[in-house]
Symmetry: C2
Subunit: 436 residues, 2 copies
């Protein structure tokens, strides 16, 4: 069997590794458009924050490793042009690659109404998901002082923190009324907002950027209420896949993602799609959504690989679990938020715990929990702390995935150590709506 | 309803708190033999290590808090003498206390073949589970230099580390061939052994102390192969409950614990027993064992309280989950160890993962997993790392408790952040014996 994988970021690399595990004899080819694989887009902010010294330091896996450890034929600088009849792939320069099974793991870029890809023109409106884009930003950096970041999600905040660390003047524009609105309810995001402002970020909330005007080595951002002129604009709005390549050959969804079934099969035989190229099921609502996260990339890639020689495993969807460290706070979320409750089928009970992280300290963790009042199951959890407590979130994610009721969670067991946690297990502190 | 609780350590305090939640109108009395409640026996080592400045700093809850926040009638300096007919309790000084429901939460002490309780004579053979015992040790400390600790479990190791920090010469005697043998397999304990020795602890493994001879302001420890003479001996062997008080009135097990059913009821109507006074079911083997851990104290206390007015909840047992920080290593264990495999009903597959803790660092975590080859369920996990990764252990404990198969764990979700963890979820790295 010859397996061809398009894309060398998380999904593509994982698809290659898992394919090798399942099919020791297969020929496995990985095609990547860029000159290398495994770039981690978070590297840029970590570099700006001084936590790494160059963009390559944080690579998950190099082409060489993938070749030597997993016998993958990695071919970089290969741009795919489209699908042909008869299990063949058309590349640039008239190259043709045949396959028995194809996995599309092309990921996403920052395509937005603010213009095309970075690098197309010498513009001061930048993107940075790809390494080449990050390098352009790093070249600009010494010559600019006032920088606008559009988007108050994880990426926009990471960049803002990095730029503050690099002594830049930062204006952050967010169209909603709060930071990290996809993951945290407003009151859970409040400490972060305060801390980002205290660090020097000029926050513009409820500030939808309608237009960018580039003129005289500056860019002006125009919102309904104000104008701000800066030296450079970084677009950190949500990513979208560019699947125009497959317009004529695969069924696409309205948002541009490739249609797949629960086994990651596209509308065309022998062709699978994974990661940021597809939608996933958000478990709490059962709805198919575009959720661009590494854990989805990894999970769907493994599934596709498992299903190449016969359908073995279905996707059970995602809880959209994230964790980050931003402006002095560890923040994370899994499952439903309260503000999403309106899309949920049952009434929700919320509970917020303010607990010291151990018996030693007054350092606190704030945990918000959402319980379905009908099933009495945990359906969402958010956590904020100055202490590194995010691993707890993965336990909440498991409780949600396994549809544990609050009563069942009472029997959870934790180790206890006075310097590390509290005597009463966290799970046993969740209130059961039954008790009313 | 009048609820009387005997004992003011973890189990007793938790029984009082939970009783108040269930029975808002009840009269609740807590009797404690010592002059205060809530002492945490780990305080002593933390004090010696300089992490706290006095023994009271780490109290879970004071008598005053319990009275004010939960309206518990806390009575200290009350020694119980025995049970009388007609729901009455005999105290010292001819005091009699009646009850509708009684919860015995008397905990355990270090009763061993090396002699009676500390304080009975001005001896250089000390115990330290109670605060009064810890205070005796602290008085001795300035005048002694060479100290022997008997027992290489959690308590013995914590004390040894504290004494090293206090610049004492420490000899640690352990009758088995390794440290922490109840919780870790030999190879998982090896880094700790090396690190304790490097810190200056003189380790005596396979060294069962047959006799202690106290003479001329010194104590000589005698094992099969050697004699060692020291200034002071600390007995850190496993604790046992002293239930001789109930010899004539309650059914006891051979190991001195009080017999209880799954609802924490003793052989006598209206009398419950919890915590270190009873045995608990070790979930992986289904065997009733004496396992002296705070999490068992908390769980059984809550159960007893829930069952006082009618049987509501059964105990599902323990996984014996522990976590500690010793000589530079975070160490923990949940469920079965490989060396216990001989007591287990099915063959076990072991797997050891050596993983960096995130994409940034070469700092490692070593995780040993045990999988039942027949059910394909996870049944045990151990972890060792220089990094604070122990919260992961609680997730393994949940997986074991919920009888997750390795295949089911493949769908586990984790957040990903390059500076905090790895892209592939930990649970998805466990090998399934099915694959052979």
């Amino acid at each position: 069997m010859k397996i061809v994988i398009i894309g060398g970021s998380f999904a593509g690399i994982q698809a290659a590794i898992t394919s090798r595990t399942y099919y020791p004899q297969a020929e496995i080819v990985l095609l990547e458009k860029q000159s290398e694989i495994g770039y981690i887009s978070g590297s840029l902010s970590l570099l700006l924050q001084g936590k790494i010294t160059n963009l390559d330091q944080l690579s998950w896996m190099s082409a060489r490793q993938l070749q030597e450890e997993y016998q993958i034929d990695v071919r970089c600088n290969r741009a795919v042009v489209g699908l042909m009849e008869g299990n063949q792939l058309q590349l640039a320069d008239n190259e043709i690659v045949s396959y028995d099974r194809l996995i599309i793991a092309t990921g996403s870029g920052q395509y937005s109404r603010y213009g095309g890809e970075a690098g197309e023109a010498p513009s001061r409106i930048l993107r940075f998901k790809k390494k080449s884009e990050a390098e352009v930003l790093l070249e600009w950096l010494p010559t600019v002082q006032k920088i606008a970041v559009i988007g108050g999600g994880q990426v926009g905040l990471e960049l803002s923190e990095g730029l503050i660390h690099a002594n830049k003047q930062v204006h952050l524009f967010e169209s909603s009324s709060q930071l990290l609105f996809r993951y945290l309810d407003a009151e859970m995001a409040a400490p972060l907002t305060k801390s980002a402002a205290a660090a020097g970020v000029q926050l513009h909330l409820n500030a939808y950027v309608q237009e960018l005007q580039e003129k005289n080595d500056q860019v002006t951002l125009i919102t309904a209420n104000e104008q701000e002129t800066v030296d450079l604009v970084l677009v950190a709005t949500s990513t979208r896949p560019d699947n125009s390549l497959w317009d004529d050959t695969l069924n696409l969804n309205d948002d541009g993602t490739i249609q797949v079934d629960r086994w990651m099969q596209t509308s065309r035989p022998n062709v699978f799609a994974v990661g940021d190229a597809v939608q996933v099921i958000f478990q709490p609502t059962g709805e198919a959504m575009y959720i661009s996260l590494v854990n989805n990339a990894i999970r769907t890639a493994k599934l596709a690989a498992a299903n190449l020689a016969g359908l073995k495993e279905e996707d059970s969807g995602t809880l959209r679990t994230i964790g980050n460290y931003l402006f002095g706070y560890y923040l994370g979320s899994t499952g439903l938020t309260e503000s999403e409750g309106i899309f949920y089928s049952a009434p929700l009970r919320t509970q917020t715990l303010e607990l010291p992280i151990n018996l030693f300290t007054k350092e606190k963790q704030r945990i918000k929990l959402l319980v379905d009042e009908q099933t009495h199951q945990l359906v969402g959890a958010q956590i904020v702390s100055t202490a590194p407590v995010l691993e707890i979130l993965n336990r909440f994610a498991e409780a949600i995935r396994l549809k544990q009721t609050i009563q069942q969670l009472q029997q959870s067991e934790e180790f206890f150590h006075p310097a590390l946690n509290l005597p009463q297990p966290l799970m046993a502190r969740i209130e059961d709506p039954y008790e009313d």
